[in-house]
Amino acid sequence: MRALNALARRTLVARPLRSVLTIVGIALGVGVLVAALVLNAGLDAAAEQSAHDQLGRADLRVAAFLESGLSPASVTAMTTTPGVAVVAPELDQRTYPAPNPLAGSGLPVPVTVVGVDPEPDAALHDRPLAGGSPLPADGGNVALVSDALARANGLVVGGTITLNGSAESGPRTFRVSGILAPVPDDPDPAGRSIVVPLQAAQALFSTDAVDLVDLGLARGTSVTSVTAELERRLSVEPYTLTTPDELVARLRAATADFRITIALVAALALFGGAFLIFNTLAMTVAERARDVGLLRAAGMTRRQVTLLVLISAVHLGVAGVALGLAAGVGLAAAVTALGSPGGGALALRELVIPPGGLVLGALLGFGVTVAAALEPALRAARISPVEALTARLDQTTVLRARIRWLSLVFAVVGVAGIALWPSTASGSTGILRPLGVFALMLGVALASPFLVGPLGALVGAVTRPFLPTEERLNRSALTRDRSRTALTVGGLAVALAVLVALGGVAATTRQAAIAWLTDVVPGDALLTAVRPDALDEPQLADLAAGPGVARLSPIGMFAVAVGGLRLDAAAVVGADLLADGRLPLAAGDRATALPALDAGGSVILPASISDRLGIPLGGLLQVLAGRQTVALRVVGIASRTIPGTSGESVLVGWSDATQRLGALGAQYFAVRYVPGQAAAAAAALEPLARADALELAPLQAVEGSIGASVDRLFALLTALALVALIVAGLGIVNTLSMNVLERVRELGFLRAAGLTRRQARRLVMLEAAVLGAVGAIIGVVAGVVAGVILAALGPGIGVAYDPGWWTIALALVGGVGLAVVASAWPAHLAARIEMVRALAHE
């Protein structure tokens, strides 16, 4: 064994470039895999931490379902529920502080006011202070301000901050008693929160309600029994109950799609690595067939030959896996440092390195390496001394064996995919997507050997007019070792397919994310309020009467309960949508449906909810409103409506929204300008809006902001997919180097016969370009199909699939470019061949 080990090591050392490329290939494959596992662990930890930050030591959270919140009667009912030891009510409202002397003349940045009852709140929540003292138990107009707000507004302990309240209460001033230490889960999206006594907050916003109540249970009390009792007692207004476990599960589910995609990309990167390992070992066996024959003639058994190749693989595997583990952790650390990969749903807080994940990554890396080595090892063992010294290996047999091998490696990578599968992901279409894409990639890999010839001829015909000499000399190069070429093309095609699919899905998601704006919003700009504005507020009439403003259309977002489900709802003015030509309907008559919304008793459903609830046009949507049910007739079904917090919204008229369903007012106002007066109207509207604490943004800016967040999410996934492309690039370097080495004698003769160094270099680069073009063509076609699968099996997004033409163009150019860049070293080798030595080369 020691002798075999030494021999294997020497074999690898003899071809340092190839060995290093393979090790890097394994390392990148394992690296992406490990990064995915580490990121998954980090997201899990972040979910648990986030749930803990939100609920603290509470055993249950009762949250108001409607904007009107939970009444004092409900809070009292909770207080008297047996088994409830601590009741910590909370009121969360957004408002504007009085103008900040440190800021400019624009609208002040809003803050989130958190009203808490200091004593029970302290029992359930940690609110660590960076300075000052906590809220006094007896209340008063005192405040704890977040570190970010204190810095931005120059607040210090003992200073004051004035907050705008409701119309009745007006502005009120609070004395800063303490500065809150920064926490990851600040209630305010910008970290600008103010914690004040509950009574002071209720006085500021003129309400006696609260938004949520956290409950601490008495020792020995079960959550189930308290939940049952609460459900019996709480009958005044709708609410939701959440336990810490449920919150963790919900947070995990929010990142499931992201983790599925990471798992898919990681599995495919590992597959790309497997291509490289297999190709390297297959080349080594082919190159050393004569040596193997001599060793067999000298008495080496088939088993020893198999072991020799497998030991070589183990050497490569050890180095690659070790490097890959480090690279994976580094990659995950970089992603963690960058922030929120879950598209804002959940931010990674810290690097969590799961020991099991590292072991799994190492085992899978070894598994793929050994699986990749099996076929070359067995083939080497079958080489007879006579065959090795005379004939070439039968290409058809080799191809068949390699196709069998591909299936084996796919099985191993499939195990990797299952290992990476997010535990929170469920549902048949959820698992069908990656399975569909994975099956497609297997198809690509298996079909590549048969596509290389015809596609290569096609690409060759295109290059012939430009490089006739090189094209003629190169014509058969791709089919020299069809299975090797196919593996290289396959690796490249799979990597490019992932990129094209991600590009298509990103473009489609981007379109879907912004399409509602142009389809549903009847205006050129949006005014945004920090809290719902009642429609009868006089300043709204002033805004609507502003110069150049044709129409001001309110949009109110709230939630409704339907059959135990929480649905997002939006109150709209049907007449405005009709006049503006917005909201095309997939079913129903716009001309009657939109006025019907304003008349009341009607609803327009998005197609996704109509399908999900099985309610067709003309059916009834039974909405729970307080103690009674409101039946709304479905008068139209739209391809898409306004996105809410958990899906698309059902659209209702304002009369139903405010009088029957508990909506308090509008958070958005769509502004339609008089044609040709947009610029002047916007300039005039902005100060008016600012005075009413409304923020004006053109629709394009809103589109850009939504598109940018989609782009950020996909940029990370694309970066991971690029690793697979790098692996494919290494494969190309490997294959072309081998091709050059195999053709040393041939190239030597061509040089002797008058081929210049430049021509020799171009010969290899052309071979690479053709190889890259073939890989790019296959990859683009497979990528578009994969994108369609991902989009079709995903949640309905109501827009046609956009293949992402830029990504396709980039993939085609990038595929060829990568191949040409990867050919630089082999081309250099070809150009520098010493004719005399080459001609003496056997």
Binding site: T469, R472, R745, F749, A753, R758, M835, V836, L839
Partner: protein, 250 residues
Amino acid sequence: MSPILEAREVTKRYRLGAGDVEAVRGVSLAVEPGELVAFMGPSGSGKSTLLHLLGGLDQPTSGDVVLDGALISRLSDDAATKLRREKTGFVFQFFNLLPLLSVWENVALPFTIAGEDARHGDQAAAIRAALASVDLAGKERNRPDQLSAGEQQRVALARALVRRPALLLADEPTGNLDFATGTEILDRLWRSCHEGGQTVVLVTHDAKAAAYADRVFVLHDGSIRDEIQLGRREDHGAAPLIARLASLGL
């Protein structure tokens, strides 16, 4: 008439471990147009190295090589390559055919490399003529692995002759062939010299092959030990050469 090929004090030195090895030591010679010369000598005597230097495949450490009036040893790689493409044709012991190309495509290589279309016109006629001259008409579509060793070497010869280069360099062209096939190749080389006026430089360790030459240079330890004048003879008998070699103790 000025020589077509000339070596002036050509030396080729290689590094070997800590020291240097001189494969060719101060060789000077001249080959006239239409002449057939042979280099003989034992293994390691430097005959192949000298051929490579004369053909511009390698650069001498010192001294000069003049090919058809051009100092090929001092030209840039590109210029030397182009000169080689125009003036020389090579035949090697191991044929060096491109296995994936057909017979026609292999013979057409010199045109292909020069960027000429060999499918039509004069080039196609030249390929047909070259193949006919080595009795391979009808085998144009075959691949090298479908031919015998002798046929493969005839393809290599046709390839070397197809552009009618002024100088043919042949390195052990019969070393891999049986006697009868070797003789066919040598006959064809001799005819291209005798009838076509091409200059041939032949490297061989076989006295029967060397006997086709007008002059034989005997190399030993990288130097020319002797020059044997045989003159142009139709019978190619090896007896005079063998007798002379015997007198030299070889």
